[in-house]
Symmetry: C2
Subunit: 318 residues, 2 copies
């Protein structure tokens, strides 16, 4: 998100690719731990809280690097840049006690530039496995876009319609992409409309335009959420759109529409118990598809779609 | 090439992706420097000589990590694994004198696992730019297969038909790929036939089967060469085929045939003054195409082709 240069530069490069943790716990009220506790969790991975919204179900925090959602019995935290999310996870497992963990899923996208990260996925998982047993997989090819997923290896049955859909778009193009990436605060209404975050009853939205560039939004509707993060830098632009809303309730159409509007050069779909694969094919070819029923009960799928290149481009000067 | 495990493993992982340097010099006879000198050059980057062949034009050395070719007025060195080719290049520039460099092109493929490399391309180039002026470009997207290319920024006119074609194939599949990757010495004749290295007048071939796996071959025909390197590990199999032979003289067909035989999941074509883009389209989509006339005179093109994924796969356990 945040970053000073639109051109790739070793010194101001900003990594948009995210790490994510989702925890379900019992015997403790996570919201009851209070904002100061969660501020401390966020600081562990070297991010900061920017703002928050709340409803009867969930507290949603915008972070300097992505987002945190806290319900009574679960939490989702997503961070980008050079944050070390594993440090926040280790603190939570230690503070809450591993016996309270019903489900724990740690996901890490391969980075644009892994050499600027403070740890690798395997190093992260080595630390976590000292505290809890788990399985780890790579979804996607080593030389293509891929996601590492660790899950607590403990019997668990996800709640009915506990679905998550992640749409991750690389190298967005065209007018809508320009507005989203460089429109700024004065285009706020247009940007929120593009993202399905228009004002409507029951939906609360909290968004932030970073200086000099970048955009993040959290939205909550009952217990469900949408979170959007935009890294606008031209050479590695990246838009992530994640939601736990029911894709049967119109979100499939919204996500397909986003791909048509933002015309990414390629994109990933990652789903947990959400059947979202159709409606994305126009102008794209499916280059990868991986699926697995995780031992913690979620049916997980990864798709990678690429567009076809018609015209030659110039190289990137370094 | 060399490697102990067929499955991805952090400890025995072998990086097949290559670094390459091509230098053209004047005022010094490179072959005349003798084998002991070139052994020293090779040791600088932490590789070793295995064997060699020679004809009237060129000495071709097989290395523990790829290949070295030495003519009177030029040299090409290709290394893989965790070698630091830049150390060999710096020694050559220092020993020979930068004023003797007519052309110097340093190319580096993005790695499967960059975190296991001892330097990045930008770090390599920072050292080189302390000795000679140069331009650097990235051919290909940061989040896809890409090649970094540095060239000495000095007027130069490549010789007539001084062409190079690189065909780099990722995740090879099927019967021919099995033979190439795991056939071993007893399938040597079949492997050489597949690669267009059958016995014929004027062609000298030197090949090596690594233990426990991996295959390399050098071939020379007059002043021109073919060099092939195979990393057979299933999760990141990689076959590189490079030649300075005239693609109009039948090599276009050979390279297209290799793609059809080895059925890579995706492949790159990189060409310097060689017009090689046609004949590869069957079953593949062109996902990237970058072209540039380098300031040292070579017309350089990069293509990346991907196959379409029809069936879902299982994830890779880690």
């Amino acid at each position: 998100m945040k970053g000073k240069a639109r051109r790739y530069d070793a010194f101001v490069f900003f990594e948009g690719s995210e790490k994510k943790v989702e925890m379900v716990v019992s015997g403790v009220n996570l919201r009851g731990l209070g904002k100061a506790y969660w501020e401390d969790v966020v600081r562990q991975c070297r991010a900061e809280m920017i703002s928050s919204i709340s409803n009867d179900h969930v507290d949603a925090y915008l972070l300097s690097e992505s987002s945190l959602f806290v319900w009574g019995d679960r939490m989702v935290m997503i961070t980008c840049g050079a944050t070390v999310l594993m440090q926040s996870i280790l603190k939570l497992v230690e503070d809450l006690g591993r016996e309270r963990m019903d489900s724990l899923i740690f996901q890490r996208k391969n980075e644009y530039d892994q050499s600027k990260q403070k740890s690798s996925f395997l190093e992260d998982v080595r630390l976590l496995r000292e505290m809890v047993p788990g399985k780890a997989h790579r979804f996607g090819r080593l030389d293509g876009h891929h996601h590492f997923i660790f899950n607590l290896d403990r019997p668990y049955r996800p709640a009915f319609k506990d679905m998550t859909s992640e749409l991750l778009m690389y190298h967005v193009e065209g007018e809508a992409a320009q507005t989203l990436c460089h429109g700024g605060r004065e285009k706020g209404e247009e940007i929120r409309a593009l993202l399905g975050l228009e004002k409507r009853e029951g939906l609360m939205v909290d968004d932030h335009f970073f200086k000099p560039c970048g955009y993040s939004a959290n939205a909550i509707e009952g217990p469900r959420y949408i979170t959007v993060h935009v890294t606008p830098q031209e050479d590695y632009s990246y838009v992530s759109y994640e939601t736990s809303l029911d894709v049967e309730g119109g979100y499939r159409g919204l996500l397909g529409g986003l791909v048509r509007s933002l015309r990414p050069d390629s994109f990933d779909l990652v789903t947990f118990d959400a059947d979202l694969k159709e409606g994305f094919e126009d102008g794209y070819f499916k280059w990868d598809h991986v699926k697995e029923n995780l031992s913690c009960g979620y049916k997980t799928e990864f798709f990678h779609y690429v567009s076809v290149c018609y015209d030659p481009r110039a190289p990137q000067a370094l």
